[in-house]
């Protein structure tokens, strides 16, 4: 199928009235959640996950994806006006966006971030359209050994490229893989870790895991901590949004650079929008002829990262849709949604489900267009939302989580599973153990195990099989390098910290 026929098919699917409706719902809820501090994108997606069970696969994915890139738009609003990042990827926007708001240029910052977000996302979508089918075409020929190696790379990347300790990240990946073994073994039919409980036969529910680990744990840490801020409603008027000619002139180049950086980092395993935004900020700072303006309201420091994180939001779908290997926990949830609807993710997805694949991609464009149209007139509404106190919000979030978990199978057991993971999630926060690698391990667990066992059968039990295949050997070498590098840099950092302590 040539590209235009594909795009037309996608456009047709995305413009179907009920897909359009769920796209709108997704981006609307996404922006809403992105604006409100104290609910992250993962918590939001897991909260709304059960609702999508009652939709068909295409609509479900369109809506979940809309929530994902919608939060990035919303996140920047809270960053600029309150200096509180609504989502992690917009933390960078605080650096120069908040100073702009303090100088009375908040309106300009809001408008420019919206435009930059749209621009970055559009570039990301073009990259996604050009590369996904290409990668999928070659990926059809790869076998279990290669799959296993790629997934291992993805998991290790996610575990080691985090802010905290790489060892803890790896431990959480392993715990996730271990939790994924609960239930019936797909190959021998044996019950594993079910302890005679019939409800555990199908395994632990990904919905319950995500809601407990992210939603419940987040509520506990946010209650009585988040207070509505003082927002100047004057920032959100039309007149305050008009950028000067100087703003426009300064923004062009960072827009393109940000989109390029974002597209690259979005597609890489373990990185994603936050890292892309930070990189873009660093690059703009370094390239600028007036670096002293950064941190004091430089428009380049706002549009570059915003363009980057939105481009990354889109290109993150490349490995997820063309290989079936998610690079981030959010993408893992998307994959989970596909699997729940009985669709096997992998290189065959594009040829087997062309309407879903192209429909989803075209919905990104429509969704981003909606966000552009929605955000500029609705900024006033989002600003008012920032003033709702958290004590009104968290019982509602909790109620959504409970009903959502219950509604999947009408089973109180699932509600108690959420409770169990909530306890685990809070303990992990106390011990500074990162939850994201656990989720990734949990989603990829069954796939990793199947491919590993299949590869070992083909290899007749000889582990050298993996090293004899050039592609697999390269990927495994890369994985080992990543582990070694992260341990080394961890040690170096500790030596550095020690030296600093001694200085004092």
């Amino acid at each position: 199928m040539d590209i235009f026929a594909s795009l037309a098919l996608g456009l047709g699917t995305a413009l179907a009235p009920h897909n359009l409706l769920y796209c709108f719902l997704g981006v609307f809820l996404g922006t809403l959640i992105g604006v409100i501090p104290g609910i992250g994108v993962l918590a939001a997606i897991s909260m709304l996950f059960p609702i999508t069970f009652h939709l068909d696969a295409t609509a479900a994915l369109i809506m979940l994806a809309g929530i994902w890139y919608g939060t990035t738009y919303g996140g920047s609003t809270a960053s600029i006006l309150l200096n509180i990042p609504g989502s992690p990827s917009s933390a960078v926007t605080c650096l120069d966006g908040y100073p702009m708001a303090r100088q009375g240029r908040g309106g300009v910052a809001l408008l420019m971030t919206t435009l930059a977000s749209f621009f970055g996302a559009s570039i990301g979508i073009v990259v996604l359209i050009s590369f996904s089918p290409l990668i999928a075409k070659y990926a059809i020929y790869i076998s279990s050994a290669e799959y296993f190696a790629l997934m291992l790379l993805g998991l290790v990347a996610a575990a080691t490229i985090t802010n905290g300790s790489a060892i803890k990240g790896l431990a959480m990946v392993v715990l996730g893989l271990l939790l994924a073994t609960v239930g019936m073994d797909s190959q021998s039919g044996a019950q594993r870790f079910t302890f005679g409980n019939l409800e555990l036969m199908d395994g632990l529910s990904i919905v319950a895991l995500a809601m407990g680990l992210f939603g419940v744990a987040e509520i506990i840490t946010s209650v009585r901590r988040i207070h509505p801020g003082d927002v100047d409603p004057k920032d959100a008027t039309w007149a305050a949004m008009k950028p000067t000619r100087d703003d426009v002139r300064r923004s062009w180049v960072p827009l393109f650079r940000g989109a390029g950086i974002g597209s690259f980092f979005g597609a890489m395993p373990g990185t994603g929008p936050s890292l892309a935004a930070f990189m873009s900020y660093a690059v703009e700072h370094r390239m600028s002829r007036t670096p002293e303006r950064f941190g004091k309201g430089a428009i380049e420091g706002v549009v570059g990262p915003e363009s980057a994180n939105n481009a990354a939001d889109q290109t993150a779908f490349i490995p997820t849709l063309s290989l079936g290997i998610p690079g981030s926990p959010t993408m893992a949830l998307m994959l989970g949604a596909l699997m729940i609807h009985g669709i096997n993710p992998g290189p065959n997805l594009i040829s087997e489900q062309p309407a879903l694949f192209w429909g989803l991609i075209m919905s990104f464009w429509i969704g981003n267009l909606m966000l552009l149209l929605l955000n500029i007139p609705l900024i006033g509404l989002w600003v008012r939302l920032l003033m709702v106190p958290y004590r009104m919000m968290y019982p509602a979030i909790l109620m959504f989580i409970c009903i959502g978990a219950y509604s999947v199978r009408y089973s109180p057991f699932d509600v108690f599973t959420v409770l169990g993971f909530g306890v685990l999630g809070y303990m992990m926060r106390v011990f500074a153990l990162p939850p994201a690698p656990l989720l990734l391990g949990f989603v990829l667990g069954p796939l990793v195990e199947t491919h590993f066992r299949r590869a070992m059968i083909m290899a007749r039990g000889d582990a050298m099989y993996f090293l004899e295949r050039p592609f697999t050997a390269t990927v495994l070498a890369l994985t080992v390098t990543m582990v070694v590098w992260s341990i080394w840099s961890g040690l170096r950092r500790r030596a550095h910290d020690k030296a600093r302590l001694l200085d004092q």
């Binding site: 271990l178 073994t181 044996a190 594993r192 070992m456």
Partner: protein, 150 residues
């Protein structure tokens, strides 16, 4: 509070070690391990358990050689939030949607450390209506609004 050793990481490491060892032992005792060519159901869980225990040891040992900070542990908030979920789980089937939402909202609100019965009542009623609107009317779930099945 800064301590001589990183007790937070040491505890985390010890817990991971225990969990990994327990999983590995349980898999070894109860499931077929098999050979590398034809792996049994227990092979992977056992291997993962051993890996988890190993990583736990690394976290534990690294904590021993490092200064640490005792993290703040909230007590009241988690109790309220967890109880709220438990109350919902226990009430949803015997009593239906409205009583379960009312009760869990009330328990959750206690995490605010102040008891305002009227405010809790109002927000409970609003949330029940919203829940009914979205889940029962909107999505068409068949959850009874109120019932008595004891």
């Amino acid at each position: 509070m800064v301590t001589k050793r990183d007790y937070r990481d040491m505890t985390a490491g010890a817990l991971l070690l225990l969990l990994g060892a327990a999983a590995a032992w349980y898999a070894l005792e109860n499931y077929r391990i098999g050979t590398f060519t034809r792996m049994g159901a227990g092979m992977l869980p056992m291997a993962l358990g051993i890996m988890l225990a190993g990583l736990g040891v690394v976290v534990l040992v690294a904590g021993w050689f490092r200064k640490g900070v005792i993290p703040e542990v909230r007590v009241l908030t988690p109790i309220c939030i967890f109880s709220s979920i438990a109350v919902f789980g226990m009430m949803i089937q015997p009593f239906g949607l409205l009583p379960a939402v009312m009760a869990s909202t009330t328990v959750a609100s206690l995490a605010e450390k102040e008891f305002r019965p009227l405010r809790i009542l109002v927000s409970g009623v609003i949330l029940s209506v919203v829940a009914w609107g979205i889940f029962v009317f909107g999505i068409g779930l068949s959850i009874p609004l109120a019932t008595w099945k004891l």
